[in-house]
């Protein structure tokens, strides 16, 4: 009984087959474009999050309580609500007021969906990256700031010349991990019809009537992107920690 079912997985090309990838010859190109879309979307989102996150992190470390609270509230709001909800509110709320001009990015990305999507993901990511930066800044020995200030440098100059260059090194692996998280999280953008991996899988499923195969392929692609990358980052992180001891 089990063997019959197991064999049928590979032989029987029914629509409910887990490993029915018969759509590939025809839709392979769409899948590749979906992967490109996901990668562009996640990398740009995290990059866009860097500057606001830096601002949020420094605000979070400010002496002024009001400034600290504003940043804290932003971070709490974005970390404690689902990204899907944020995406909906930003797309239907904010971008019903702001009209994005329609043009194609890299020839296949529709700006009217991409820009709201990137905005939502970047706003969400900036809350997480802010916490990464904050930890990175706090990891720099407090004597560094004191030494810089004792020479007469301002708070800002000390941050820029002494603290941040050292914090960046602490922070790079965590930032790379954030990109990996974003590769997975960006799948929510399918609800806006952004042609990333998940949307492509759904579209293929719809037009070929193969229900499971495309999603299995999507899962496989996500795994192949994120797992090896996270292992490489882990290794780099370990090597960096060893380097610090000298």
């Amino acid at each position: 009984m089990f063997w019959d079912w197991w064999q049928s997985l590979f032989v029987d090309m029914s629509s409910a087959n887990f490993f029915n990838f018969s759509f590939l010859p025809r839709y392979g190109y769409a899948v590749i474009q979906g992967v490109e879309y996901t990668l562009i979307l996640s990398v740009i989102s995290v990059l866009m999050a860097v500057l606001p996150a830096l601002l949020l992190a420094t605000m979070r470390l400010s002496k002024n309580k009001a400034v600290r609270c504003i940043s804290g509230a932003y971070i709490a709001a974005f970390r404690s609500t689902p990204i899907l909800v944020q995406l909906m509110i930003i797309y239907y709320g904010v971008f019903s007021i702001i009209t994005v001009p329609k043009f194609m990015i890299f020839g296949f990305i529709d700006s009217t969906r991409f820009i709201p999507g990137v905005t939502a993901l970047a706003l969400n990511s900036s809350a997480y990256v802010a916490e990464i930066f904050r930890a990175g800044i706090l990891a720099v020995d407090s004597g560094q700031m004191e030494a810089a200030r004792s020479l007469g440098l301002s708070q800002f100059q000390s941050m820029r010349l002494v603290i941040l260059p050292q914090a960046v090194k602490n922070v790079l692996p965590a930032l790379a991990n954030e990109v990996i998280t974003m590769v997975k999280e960006s799948s929510v953008c399918m609800v806006l019809g952004m042609a990333e991996i998940m949307f492509t899988a759904q579209t293929i499923g719809g037009s070929t009537m193969i229900s499971i195969g495309p999603y299995m392929l999507a899962a496989f692609i996500y795994f192949v992107i994120t797992y090896p990358t996270s292992k490489v980052i882990e290794r780099i992180e370990r090597r960096m920690r060893r380097g610090d001891k000298h």
């Binding site: 004597g143 004191e146 200030r149 020479l151 007469g152 050292q166």
Partner: protein, 249 residues
Amino acid sequence: MGTNTDYIISVEDLVKEYNGGKVVALDHCSLNVKKGQVIAIIGPSGSGKSTMLRSLNLLEEPTSGKIYFNVIDLTSKGVDINKHRQKIGMVFQHFNLFPHKTVLENITMAPVTLKKQTEEESKETALNLLERVGLIDKAYEYPNMLSGGQKQRIAIVRALAMEPEVMLFDEPTSALDPEMVGEVLDVMKELAAEGMTMIVVTHEMGFAREVADEIIFMSDGRIIERGSPVQIFENPENQRTKNFIDKVL
């Protein structure tokens, strides 16, 4: 007192409290420093020596009291502390060199950033100073390649590059291996001989005795006794000073 132009630094009634007054680190301390004087602050750990020193350039913000530097009250509102800190050099127990910058960059960063000198001038000053402390061959190395004694000599040079009027030393030899203490103290002695005004928190009683013009003994956040090295080391008046001196000598 604070407006007396004889004094380069004058501290009046300095109080530093933590946790809303539960911990008193400095309890109404006053101090006058004349130009060219070398003052050593000694005392048991936790006596407030470091807090006192770190208050002088406002790394610690005093709870109350006044700190005059060249007759200007640093604690009053509207004082640009960054400007005054340029004239108050500081050397730390743990060196605090910038690990991402070369020795030369460590020294030139502040003078160049604060437009005290051009990059060229600053480099020349730095190399001259490095020559004087015998570390010119380390100019292009990174701090983590150096020994503790070398790091501390460079930290001194970094502070000197700003051409300060006074130098603060916060236990500059406490983190060093014993065999490296001498090379750092030698640089400090030379500096004192050149007439630099210095305030030194130290456990090196030999150095304090030999180099300081005045010794200040602190305990429990208070200045217990002050006087010449001979007086403090040989004829302490206060019993606590006596106990401390007996223990450390």
